[in-house]
């Protein structure tokens, strides 16, 4: 493990922007493009929003834990954990356009799957949810390829 950042915050919407900006700024330590940082910010936003909206049903008493780890020069792992109501059917929750809330688009997990290389969801009803995302950035320095 080369470096990591770990922080916890109450489940209020004001912290979604903070969480994605923080992880995005941390990701800038890697050799990644601005576009890739935007994708990292998006998936963090989706996972943290899911914890607040679905895990804690928009109640502010919950806690969300975020940990981002740089495993080497190219790989970043992000973990988002809550102690909310959990997910009964993970397979269904990950289907595109599925949402337990009809006013939402159900794209959160689709974004996570599409913009990250690995997605792991561990959850049980009443046991909270743990999401692990992994992204491998391409080597951009041509000398490194030589």
């Amino acid at each position: 493990m080369k470096n990591y950042v770990r922080f916890e915050f109450p489940s209020v919407p004001e912290n979604v922007s903070f969480a994605r900006s923080c992880v995005g700024a941390f990701a800038a330590q890697l050799d990644c493009t601005l576009e890739e940082i935007e994708e990292i910010k998006l998936v963090v936003s989706e996972a943290v929003s899911n914890s607040i909206i679905h895990g804690y049903k928009n109640q502010p008493h919950g806690k969300v834990l975020v940990m981002a780890t740089i495993l080497d020069d190219r790989i970043m792992e992000i973990m988002i954990e809550d102690n909310g109501i959990g997910i009964a059917d993970i397979k269904q929750a990950m289907e595109p356009s599925f949402s337990s809330d009809p006013s939402r688009m159900g794209l959160g997990f689709t974004f996570m799957k599409s913009f990250m290389d690995e997605l792991e969801v561990v959850s049980q009803p009443g046991e909270g949810t743990n999401i692990k995302l992994k992204r491998c950035f391409l080597v951009k320095d041509k000398e490194a390829l030589a």
């Binding site: 979604v16 910010k41 794209l107 959160g108």
Partner: protein, 110 residues
């Protein structure tokens, strides 16, 4: 987020500035719906020129307003999305439902 709403005849022009996430989604939805429900509006134009970030909460507001204006037999347009915002809009498929233009002048000319 800053919000500017302007009615021009039967068109509601909404200029959004900042980040469109779950923090601002509810406010944005309420502000637009209040006008759609009380004014004679048949066209809704959302200007995303100054939107720096959008996630599925922001997309949800857009698609929800599209459904609403469509149910009133109206039309909706998106203008000015930056490349990063446009990428997310296209990824979601919203561009297949709502016409996208580069700026407000493009809509006035159609």
């Amino acid at each position: 987020m800053e919000l500017e709403l302007k009615q021009i005849r039967n068109t509601l022009l909404v200029r959004v500035k900042g980040e469109m996430d779950m923090l601002v989604a509810e406010k944005l939805r309420k502000e637009i719906d209040r006008r759609l429900e009380t004014k004679q509006i048949t066209n809704l134009v959302i200007n995303l020129d100054k939107v720096t970030f959008i996630d599925s909460s922001g997309l949800g507001v857009i698609i929800g307003r599209y459904k609403k204006i469509s149910s009133l037999n109206g039309k909706m347009f998106i203008v000015g999305a930056s490349p990063s915002v446009r990428k997310i809009l296209m990824f979601s498929g919203i561009n297949k439902l709502i016409s996208m233009y580069n700026n407000e002048q493009d809509i006035i000319s159609i």
